[in-house]
Amino acid sequence: MGGQPPKPPGIFVDRKWGPVVLRLEKRPTPSRFWLYATPPVAVILTMIAGGILFAAMGKNPVEVIRTIFWDPMFGEFAFYLRGQLLVKAGPLILIAIGLALGFRAGIWNIGAEGQYIMGAIFGASVGLAVFPTESRWIFPVMIVAGAFGGWLWAMIPAILKTRFNTNEILVSLMLVYVAETILAKASTGFLKNPEGMGFPGSRNFSGYPAAQNAFLYEPLGLHWGGVAALVTGVLAWVLLTRHQAGFQIRLAGQAPRAARFHGVSPARLVVLCMGISGALAGLAGMFEVTGPAGQISIDFNTGYGFTAIIVAFLGRLNPLGIVLAGFLMALTYVGGEMASTNLGLPDAAIQVFQGMLLFFLLGVDVLTNYRFRLAVGAL
């Protein structure tokens, strides 16, 4: 520690000449520039690497990238596809905001996929139990039931963590597989459509107006889930920046010891963060099953709970950033489907593309806290 005189500025500091190397040096304070520049740089790098991947698959990279990122917004079918953006972005934003609160506090809920499924099952069950009611109260009750389902599923890892110090990453993930079996059981058993001629899957909510999550404004793809996502974005931003609980979350993530001295209870924080993220994932599932998906089916879940992890990081764990990131990720879904039908690009290529985005984000992020310096290797 200490003792060494400060090194003079300049590249060649050593008297002996060694090989010139890139050295990583910690910044005194995180760079504000790179805080905001990381996501766009990562997106551009992903486009380049993705282009190479698409070219290797024998596709025209420029055409694929244009189909994914440009056509859904400004192309021939944009009038329809623009609406699809919010449909896909809604659940991603809802889930990612919840996850980000936990990630900020160092609480890793990665089982959002399971909480999303349970929210859908709880919400749908309540609605289907009173089929065919015309009461206007049924939809709000289903919303509450959906949030409750997700919350309940997230409480399992939360309570096990606070009571028994069990790793929440592994438990929440195991519960995804459990939720998937319950989903299979629901669509072939207790929620199966009695008039479905024996096919698996529940009644379709499109024929059940009181419980349906219909579009409020179709050209924008706006349904109650989209409204909830945008409102949650603002509320979460207020919570994080203007509220005591948000301060505690940020403190616990950055300086756990200081947080304890400040009187933050780690157990309460775990329950709070897991609970919020579970409830939000449950909400997303409920809005999805009563709206775009329409029914409970075996393959109802499509991995939003996992993609939302990428969205949370792409949005820099900031609620407003996550809203933007959600739309960008929705673009890769909508554009990916376009590329799949028009150019024959496999769906899995989009999954790889999304994975690469997270890699580049995490890699470029080093520049926020560190800088590269050219240095002559000491010898």
């Binding site: 028994f164 069990t166 990453i169 592994l170 597989y177 992890i309 790889v352 994975g355 997270l358």
Partner: protein, 310 residues
């Protein structure tokens, strides 16, 4: 000798084979975590190994080359994790998750066109005369070479970690990277090698799924085995022989529930197939309860990145 349609000798013999993928992956991850690195990408490395092993075995017709291919594929993927966490100092939890998401995507992309192909069989290692002995035959002598390899690796890793200089260095890096650095060890380089080893082991484990357990290529073939391997490392308190025990216990549960499904026990299939995951949670709870902090055997520097500022 049947109990409710289940033969205990066959059960034990099958569980030893069915435990191989998670045993190998968990052994690799034990070394990784002992060096202070938490790699949550085991599932991704396994499935890439499953694909790599399958493709190489089908193309060359040699299962042994297939397993080597699986090891190379798993190690190659793990090097992405190593580069991001050891060079670019990225968060290990997030990078591990990214590795799994990426691995699942790449395997699904690369596996297209391999559905419905039968890979070359990995046969029984020892002659039939031994394997046909009553009771001990199927349990001790009836396996393919990978089963014996997995048990041998348990012993080797136990010995290396406990009694060799290499093991001591790995443990030092995992317990206190500052101290190891002060002694002149290249912390990040040692960790990088451990990560690559873990990737290779996960890759072999994955290859065993696609070449011996299933054996064919299906999308998402590992179905959470990598996550269970991670849980088993915690269950085992980071010790190789306990990893073996945990993997066999888990293999036993899996085989038992499959047998119960076939035998028609009256328990709905859905509840049986969620049993392995529920039991994993239960085991995690029992192992973690009442043992906070260092007492549970977790390496002290687990999950922390190291940057040599001087």
């Amino acid at each position: 000798m049947d109990f409710g349609g289940i033969n205990p000798v066959i059960l034990i013999a099958t569980l030893m084979a069915s435990a191989v993928p998670i045993l190998l992956a968990a052994l690799g991850e034990t070394v990784v975590e002992r060096s202070g690195v938490l790699n949550l990408g085991v599932e991704g490395m396994m499935i890439i190994g499953a694909l790599g092993g399958f493709v190489v075995a089908v193309q060359t017709g040699s299962p042994v080359l297939g397993f080597i291919g699986g090891a190379v594929a798993g190690a190659a993927l793990s090097l992405i994790f190593a580069a991001l966490t050891q060079v670019f100092l990225a968060n290990q939890v997030a990078t591990g998750l990214a590795l799994t998401l990426f691995g699942l995507g790449v395997s699904s992309l690369g596996g297209q066109g391999y559905n419905g192909i039968k890979p070359p069989a990995t046969g029984q290692l020892l002659p039939d005369a031994l394997a046909d002995l009553p009771v001990v035959g199927p349990i001790l002598f009836g396996h393919d070479w990978v089963v014996y390899f997995s048990i041998a690796m348990t012993a080797v890793l136990w010995w290396v970690l406990k009694a060799t200089r290499v093991g001591l260095v790995i443990r030092a890096v995992g317990e206190s990277h500052e101290a190891a650095h002060a002694l002149g060890y290249k912390v990040n380089r040692i960790r990088l090698m451990c990560i690559a080893f873990g990737g290779a082991m996960a890759g072999i484990g994955g290859a065993y799924v696609s070449l011996a357990r299933v054996p064919q290529w299906v999308d998402g073939i590992t179905s959470g085995a990598g996550w269970i391997a991670l849980a088993i490392v915690v269950f085992a308190s980071w010790r190789p022989w306990r990893v073996l025990l945990g993997a066999w216990l888990f293999g036993g549960i899996t085989v038992l529930q499959l047998n119960l499904q076939v035998a028609g026990s009256g328990i709905p299939v859905e509840y049986l197939s969620m049993a392995p995951y529920l039991i994993t949670i239960l085991v995690l709870v029992v192992m973690s309860a009442g043992r906070r902090g260092k007492a549970n055997g977790a390496p002290a520097a687990l999950g922390q990145n190291f940057h040599a500022s001087r």
